[in-house]
Symmetry: C2
Subunit: 164 residues, 2 copies
């Protein structure tokens, strides 16, 4: 494991995130991973921040709403099939970890595990969240929400960032 | 003017932002600039995104609430005094541009001007905003808001990013 500066890897991370990476959350015994393609990274409330967005129709939403934290795992190897599967199937219907042969391993600083793959990993403690208010979204973007399943934005304080 | 990739300069930008940079907003004839030290950068709603946070006690807040866009100017030269002034004085009481001898120049893609200094400039069209809901903030962070003047988070689509 090699500690890395979260902003030094932000460009590389965002390139991968746009193609799909793993957002993993756990509360109690409930754990799920899903593919995300959107995120912002920076510094707010005096802390390093990683923001992710989860639609309220997602199984992950029911978990992250109760969770204290999340992880983002950005594989360095090609995992296109797994990324596609975890972005299109629901953890309500299938066990994504079994079906994709994804192994988790304990995180260093949070309860949610990371996906145990070579790559970049962010561990994040949720410090603020905000359910989207449709009336404040530019109308040009309403087409992203034909089913009105708006995102909730989760702001995680980055508590660890490393490569394995 | 040299166009730059917004994520390629994100690390450099965030280093400067943490020390203070200029957020400039204009609506009608009302224009103001203030110092910000927090931001996140990334990709969301299929667009490059720059998020800034403005407390509702700020003069800039009254302008940005009516504005369609904002700019962020990140000077490459030492402007410590101007950054300090614009972060501690209010545009309600003083004309910051005159007092700090800051010149503005038209932006390329938005109505709000940029501060005409050598450095990195982001032009952003506001596509979503969210007033902070105190009840969803981790209680450890409440001390940042002794006067309950919470931030509104403005999500700007980056419409241009360049160095001058």
């Amino acid at each position: 494991m090699k500690q890395v500066d979260y902003m030094a890897v932000a460009e590389q991370a965002m390139k991968q995130i746009k193609k799909g990476v793993f957002l993993t959350v756990k509360v109690g015994d409930d754990v799920n991973t899903m593919t995300i393609g959107w995120a912002t990274i920076g510094f707010c409330w005096h802390k390093p921040i990683f923001m992710v967005a989860v639609r309220d129709s997602r199984h992950t939403f029911t978990i992250i709403e109760k969770a204290a934290d999340f992880t983002v795992s950005i594989p360095s190897e090609n995992m296109k099939d797994e990324i596609m599967f975890c972005g299109t199937k629901s953890g309500r219907d299938v066990n994504k970890f079994e079906r994709c042969e994804l192994q988790t391993t304990d995180a260093q600083t949070v309860y949610s595990p990371i996906i145990n793959v070579p790559g970049l990993h962010f561990e994040c403690k949720i410090i603020y969240k905000s359910a989207m208010n449709a009336s404040l979204l530019n109308p040009d973007f309403e087409k992203l929400y034909p089913d009105k399943d708006f995102h909730t934005l989760y702001f995680g304080q980055i508590t660890d960032c490393y490569e394995i």
